[in-house]
């Protein structure tokens, strides 16, 4: 259950970002997140703990939206880019295990709506 730490870390990061804003922000209304299938983050768990982390902060009451991202690998043998079924990382086309993961490992904040 590291989602609580993630939520706290995210709020800390958003708060820092808001300090750079010329116009003061009183409230974060929406937070848009990208969640990779291989990020190790559980969407439901994150949604569950977020209100506890946000309580008393500028993010209190914010709505979370999630963009879920598949794993994509590029094969080092045949060069094909494919989306193998999680958790396997082998090339869907030729089966080679020599692949680079292009996406699906990240858990990112894309943007926030503030007022």
């Amino acid at each position: 259950m590291h989602e609580l730490s993630l939520a706290e870390s995210m709020i800390e990061q958003l708060t820092e970002a808001l300090q750079k804003e010329a116009t003061p922000v009183t409230r974060i209304e929406t937070i848009s997140l990208e969640i990779g299938a291989m990020s190790g983050v559980e969407k439901d768990a994150f949604e569950f703990v977020f209100p506890f982390a946000a309580e008393g902060t500028v993010a209190e009451g914010a709505t979370l939206t999630f963009k879920e991202v598949d794993v994509k690998v590029k094969c080092g043998q045949c060069g094909v880019i494919s989306s193998p079924e999680f958790p396997f990382v082998s090339c869907v086309s030729c089966g080679s295990a020599l692949t680079d993961i292009l996406q699906g490992k990240d858990f990112k904040v894309l943007q926030m709506e503030v007022s």
């Binding site: 870390s9 997140l33 990382v89 858990f107 990112k108 709506e113």
Partner: protein, 380 residues
């Protein structure tokens, strides 16, 4: 245009159902109306929009609704049920009025309504009723008394609601942890220290393997240990007295170590020519895998009694580990498990992953493990 009351946005419109009104008789009238309004306003407009609805009923009954607002947009379907019973006897008459109003609202911004209901009666004695209220929620009311509804929901002042804007970020949620981890990595590299982060389930044998490792490397490689547990310093006490600097981090509620905790303790253990730092993470296959601590290598441990499909169940760790150590191999004769199934699972998640099999108890495989550590230190 509303068929019942004939209202139009921004206009005044009267809808009349006229009938002769005579004294000396009694009659009951009733009508039920359902209508909805939807208004869109220019949020930049400073002028207030005023909507007036006038209802004329049987020549004796006029309702005026005034909606005043300066908000960006709002919708409010109205359902009105009016029952007007009239008893007329000569010049004297009594009007019992019953009004039920339900105003469900849907809107994204703060606004105020004022409703004025004036009733003019053509027959004597003439009287006027009026009441006003401001509200934002569905409500029902009976009678014709004045009342007031305050807003009880979270609302924005009009000065705030126009400032909503988007800030693009595109950053990792763990960016702050990652930045601290990178700082730790540089700090360690500057001092020639190699750090490894040991991650496994509770009870897989991390501490016992480290005890044996510190004994074996004593006098050869200067070691330090940061060990994390939710509670107790039992592990630190077990590893003390073996020539290494050892600190315990009690994480209390956290299920993993993070880069900040390591940063705070590095100065306590890295001294006197330490070459190799073992970070023994909190026993957990999930969470520690997400937090970079500034280590050079993540090491996953998997004991032979845990089940060969653990790498499939917890792929993030086993995919990211530089090496997987299969521990407690001395138990194999007592368990109906196939060590090749363990290895196959690891390789499904990370093809070509390096696997070291070890029994810290009997010492079988310790040479491979120590050779791997020596190689890390040599490479720096």
């Amino acid at each position: 245009m509303c068929e019942d009351c004939g209202c139009m946005e921004g206009n005044e419109k009267a809808y009349a159902q006229m009938s002769a009104n005579q004294n000396g008789h009694s009659h009951d009238q009733g009508h039920a109306q359902g209508h909805s309004h939807s208004h869109a306003f220019d949020s930049g407009a400073q002028e207030k929009e005023i909507h007036i609805h006038i209802h004329v009923e049987a020549g004796v009954n006029v309702h005026v609704h005034t909606h005043t607002t300066d908000v960006a947009s709002h919708r409010h379907p109205h359902v009105h049920t009016h029952n007007h019973g009239h008893s007329h006897d000569g010049n004297a008459h009594v009007h019992p009025h019953e009004h039920t109003h339900a105003h469900p609202h849907e809107h994204g911004a703060f606004h105020e309504h004022t409703h004025d209901h004036a009733h003019d009666h053509a027959t004597e004695p003439a009287h006027v009723h009026s009441h006003s209220h401001s509200h934002s929620h569905a409500h029902a009311h009976g009678g014709d008394g004045g009342h007031f509804h305050a807003h009880d929901s979270k609302e924005l002042r009009p000065s705030e609601q126009r400032r909503s804007r988007t800030i693009a970020l595109e950053t990792n949620v763990l960016a702050n942890n990652d930045a601290k981890a990178e700082k730790n990595r540089n700090w360690l590299a500057k001092r020639g220290v190699v750090a490894v982060n040991l991650i496994s389930s509770p009870g897989s044998g991390k501490t016992f393997l480290l005890e044996k490792t510190l004994d074996a490397l004593r006098g050869e490689i200067a070691c330090a240990v940061i060990t994390g547990d939710m509670q107790t310093d039992n592990d630190a006490r077990r590893m003390m007295g073996k020539g290494a600097n050892v600190v315990q981090i009690e994480t209390r509620s956290a299920c993993h170590l993070d880069a900040r905790q390591i940063e705070e303790r590095l100065g306590d253990v890295i001294a006197g020519g330490v070459q190799l730092l073992f970070i023994e993470n909190v026993g957990n296959l999930v969470c520690p895998a997400a937090f970079d601590l500034g280590e050079q290598e993540k090491i996953a441990l998997l004991s032979v009694s845990e089940g060969e499909d653990k790498p499939l169940k917890y792929p993030v760790l086993f995919h990211g580990a530089g090496v997987t150590v299969i521990t407690k191999t001395d138990l194999l004769p007592h368990l109906e498990v196939d060590i090749n199934a363990y290895k196959a699972s690891v390789h499904k998640i990370q093809p070509g992953a390096r696997i070291i099999e070890v029994s810290a108890k009997t010492g079988v495989g310790m040479d491979d493990w120590l050779a791997y550590l020596r190689q890390l230190v040599t490479k720096g």
